[in-house]
């Protein structure tokens, strides 16, 4: 790894930070890490096993696969049934269970479903397969949305009439506000998502700090970033400081990425959105603007979102909001396992339950 990147994984510095954290003897603090990639990183490096019991990390709803409604998968599967349709998707969606099947199962049945690393790769597939219609399944938050927006804009520029996007992109701010107001889960501090922040900047977090009195740290994803971020947050909570500290300055500019925001606003407009397990959050979703409706697969294929029921007993909703731990769900580890996931929290690699199951600290 580049010299300075590996510095953020240095074991000696990690040991020093762990030692400082172990000296914490104040009252219990709840820190919410909003971003699914933070959840994964925390689990991958076994960070929970390094913290004293009084520092509680709660995983928030920043896992796009977890919060994407069931009907999205069902509609994607419906589309894959069309003989001339090629579905392109991030790998993350392949194993998510719909009502009766998953994209992986449908691929096994012979449907043309392809994993892409970038939505832009779908454009190449569309130009190479003019006799087919390509649909990209778009999920994600502010980090990923600009890439999809760019893809749609390029499709329009290139006149790729056989390409469209089935979108379920969401935005973080209003979800954060709802969490801040939630009496059941007392969040004392936020570990803010470093890469979403690279796009949207840090202004929103300062507003949350002054309006709701919750301090925050903008953190990167390496273990040192996370450990130090937690240390700074615990300090601020105990000093009653309602501030926001940007500890990811190597990537995050306070103003954000104006180019990326511009492309997103050009292609998408805000709308209300249903978050799986949480319900409707006003103005927390994105819809493709009319100017680009030729690339909106919901319209092109006349698909109607149809709210599907969750399995009884599934507690993904409360887990996503940080009210319950995976071990509080009756299905966890029994009916709901990585081999047979019931809810999205288990199937997504960064879902709280999957991360718990895969990387339980010992």
């Amino acid at each position: 790894m580049d010299n300075y990147s590996s510095a953020f994984r240095d074991s000696n510095l990690a040991a020093l930070l762990t030692e400082r954290l172990s000296k914490y003897s104040g009252s219990n603090v709840n820190i919410m890490e909003v971003c699914g990639t933070h959840t994964m990183s925390i689990s991958r490096y076994g960070i929970r096993s390094l913290l004293p019991e009084s520092i509680n990390l709660i995983s928030g709803p920043g896992c796009p696969v977890c919060v994407t409604p069931l009907y999205f998968i069902n509609s994607a599967i419906e589309l894959s049934n069309e003989k001339d349709v090629i579905i392109t998707t991030f790998g993350d969606l392949m194993k998510v269970p719909g009502t009766s099947s998953s994209l992986l199962m449908e691929k096994a049945r012979g449907k043309d479903i392809r994993i892409v690393y970038s939505p832009l790769d779908s454009l190449k597939i569309a130009s190479e397969n003019k006799d087919k219609r390509v649909v990209f399944l778009s999920v994600g938050f502010e980090t990923t949305t600009p890439v999809t927006a760019l893809t749609i804009r390029k499709a329009a520029e290139e006149g790729l009439s056989n390409f469209s996007v089935l979108s379920a992109n969401k935005t973080i701010p209003n979800a954060l506000k709802i969490l801040a107001l939630d009496e059941d889960v007392k969040v004392h501090g936020y570990l803010y998502p470093g890469h979403v922040s690279a796009i949207i900047g840090t202004k929103l977090y300062h507003e949350l700090a002054s309006q709701y009195g919750i301090p925050g740290v903008v953190a990167g994803f390496e273990p040192i970033d996370i450990l130090h971020g937690i240390l700074t947050l615990v300090d601020m909570i105990n000093e009653n400081k309602k501030a926001v500290v940007n500890e990811y300055k190597r990537v995050v500019d306070e103003e954000g990425n104006k180019e990326a925001i511009k492309v997103t606003e050009q292609v998408f407009s805000p709308c209300d959105s249903v978050w799986r397990g949480i319900g409707n959050i006003p103005l927390s979703g994105l819809v493709i603007r009319d100017e680009y409706e030729a690339f909106d697969a919901w319209k092109v294929y006349n698909l109607k979102p149809c709210i599907a029921e969750e399995t009884p007993g599934c507690k993904c909703g409360e887990i996503l909001r940080g009210k319950l731990k995976p071990t509080d769900c009756g299905l966890y580890g029994k009916k709901c396992t990585p081999e047979n996931p019931v809810g999205a929290c288990m199937v997504s690699s960064e879902g709280t339950c999957a991360a718990y199951y895969r990387y339980q600290g010992v």
């Binding site: 580049d2 300075y4 990147s5 510095a7 953020f8 510095l13 020093l16 930070l17 400082r20 954290l21 000296k23 914490y24 003897s25 104040g26 009252s27 971003c35 699914g36 990639t37 920043g62 896992c63 796009p64 991030f90 690393y117 970038s118 939505p119 832009l120 790769d121 994600g140 938050f141 980090t143 990923t144 600009p146 890439v147 760019l150 998502p193 470093g194 890469h195 979403v196 690279a198 796009i199 994803f221 040192i224 130090h228 240390l231 615990v234 300090d235 105990n238 000093e239 500890e247 990811y248 300055k249 190597r250 990537v251 995050v252 500019d253 990425n257 180019e259 990326a260 492309v263 960064e350």
Partner: protein
């Protein structure tokens, strides 16, 4: 929701860059960032550079992290 890796721009072709990350090479779009040059480090997500990576800030951050304050045991 934001798996991204820092990489070095080793070639620029119009608004596309060839990025090298730990010896691995991939073409990425540079359309979401500005003021970049050959040799710069950028953060790559889903085939796009979404931010520049400031090496100087990286060094400053690590130095800062190493100056650990005493825990305030309130």
């Amino acid at each position: 929701m934001c798996l991204a890796l820092p990489g070095k721009i080793i070639e620029i072709k119009d608004k596309t860059g060839i990025i090298e990350m730990m010896g691995v090479v991939r073409e990425v779009s540079l359309e979401l960032i500005k003021d970049y040059s050959l040799g710069d480090y950028v953060l790559v997500h889903a085939g796009c550079a979404i931010s520049k990576v400031d090496e100087e800030e990286a060094v400053k951050t690590i130095e800062l992290f190493k100056e650990l304050k005493e825990m305030d045991n309130g």
